[in-house]
């Protein structure tokens, strides 16, 4: 019975990761063939969260943490993140002052990494509040570049899809690593993320 559960979970995790990879491939294929954009279009938006290690780690941690907590949090975290990110994005577009946004991004990696490392399972609203604060920081950084993009539509579509795919990747890895070694592999990954966040804070 236990083995069936593990197998089912592993299959779900593999499906989720495969889905993320398939989307990834489709997006790149479409970018290469259909989207005729110059600088600041779909490819720029899509690469923005992927090429910035700080953004990537934070988005990945959101998915990983949701999967570690299980239940509704598996999807409420990745659903809330882009919605709140819009607020930060609009603030960035308007050029509102946001001192220490880079520190906020580094702190988000440390906090999320530590939450995963200590397997912290707070009430849902606490988790949502925490990631909302971080989503504003990340949204601000993306939003500041948006109005100057050659094609804001494709830029927005690219970076929201990339952000979502990193969340899905995090969920997939989290679902795969939750069971082996009583979830210690996930906790170790969280600790690594927190150390990475410390690097960004001090660099």
């Amino acid at each position: 019975m236990g083995n069936i559960g593990v197998l089912r979970r592993a299959r779900t995790a593999a499906n989720v990761i495969a889905l993320a990879m398939a989307f990834w491939g489709m997006a790149h294929g479409a970018e290469a063939h259909v989207i005729q954009d110059g600088a600041g279009g779909f490819s720029s938006g899509f690469e923005h969260p992927l090429t910035g290690a700080d953004h990537f780690m934070a988005m990945f941690a959101v998915g990983l943490w949701g999967a570690q907590m299980g239940g509704r949090q598996v999807w409420t975290l990745p659903v809330t993140f882009p919605l709140i990110m819009v607020l930060g994005g609009v603030a960035g577009m308007l050029g509102l002052p946001f001192p220490g946004v880079e520190i906020g991004i580094a702190l988000s990696i440390i906090a999320l990494g530590a939450a995963i490392a200590f397997a912290w399972h707070p009430a849902e609203w606490v988790a949502l509040l925490l990631i909302s604060v971080f989503a504003v920081c990340h949204g601000y950084a993306h939003g500041a570049e948006l109005p100057n993009a050659a094609d804001p539509a494709d830029f927005a579509i690219g970076f929201v899809i990339a952000t979502g795919l990193i969340h899905i990747l995090g969920i997939g890895v989290g679902l795969a690593l939750n069971r082996p070694f009583d979830g210690r592999a996930t906790q170790a990954l969280g600790a690594l993320l927190a150390v990475g966040g410390l690097y960004f804070l001090t660099a």
């Binding site: 779900t12 889905l19 479409a30 063939h33 259909v34 989207i35 005729q36 779909f42 598996v74 999807w75 990745p78 659903v79 809330t80 993140f81 882009p82 919605l83 990110m85 819009v86 994005g89 609009v90 577009m93 308007l94 050029g95 993306h142 939003g143 948006l146 109005p147 100057n148 993009a149 804001p152 539509a153 494709d154 830029f155 927005a156 579509i157 929201v160 899809i161 979502g164 969340h167 899905i168």
Partner: protein, 264 residues
Amino acid sequence: MIVRALQPVRLARWAGPALFAIGLAGLTALWLEPPDQRSLFGWWMLTNAGAYERLLPLVGLGILLGLISLRVCIAAFLAFALGVALGYTYAEAFLEIAGMLPGAARHHFLTGPILSVAVGLPLAAPSRARIVILPFAVAIAGIPLAAAIWATNPRFHDPLTASAGIAFAFWIVAAICLTVRAFRQTWFDIAGRIFGSWLIAIGLLYGGASLIPQRTPTPPPRPLQAPAGSPDSLTGPGPSMTIPDLRPSPLDRQPEGLDPSRQP
């Protein structure tokens, strides 16, 4: 084997993927056409009707209709069709209203953001709220879609081209809806909500970026610097000169041996 495949239950199960495959084959044929031989209609289908800002909300609408009960699905599909009909009939009025917004004319009259948010809201909403907002949201989604088809029609309101654009939109919605309904899994609800939140975020960010003007103006192109030692006639008019000197310079004069009129 063929008889088994043609059983009504199996047909219903594979109707979505089959519809998807047929349409995809048509699109691939357009795509594989050499660009210099591609017709205006082909270009429009690939770059306008098939633009990401329209494609993604239509995929979202297909997922949304696939996740709800059949009765609500049919009602929502009809509401969407009604929205498309209204949008096409009153396209000019819609574009006039949308055109009042700053920067809207440069971004397809914000049809993409409105469509994204209108589809994303019911998709991401909890089940009860979804049923309440669904008919209004899908009807609203149809209006900007039809207005965008009307406005970008490369053959100036040719009904055939517009019909193809509308059929393309309905094809995406129907193919995705039928596929989702036939292969329904419990995790589709979660995936749908996540996709809905992406659509809302895309719509709001794109809408925001369109309405908010660029903060840093595009720098003017750098003036071309004349190479060192070039004749004065190549440097352009001086500040006191109102009319540029267009007389042929000594460098423009062709060597006598190369004068075409003197060639045999």
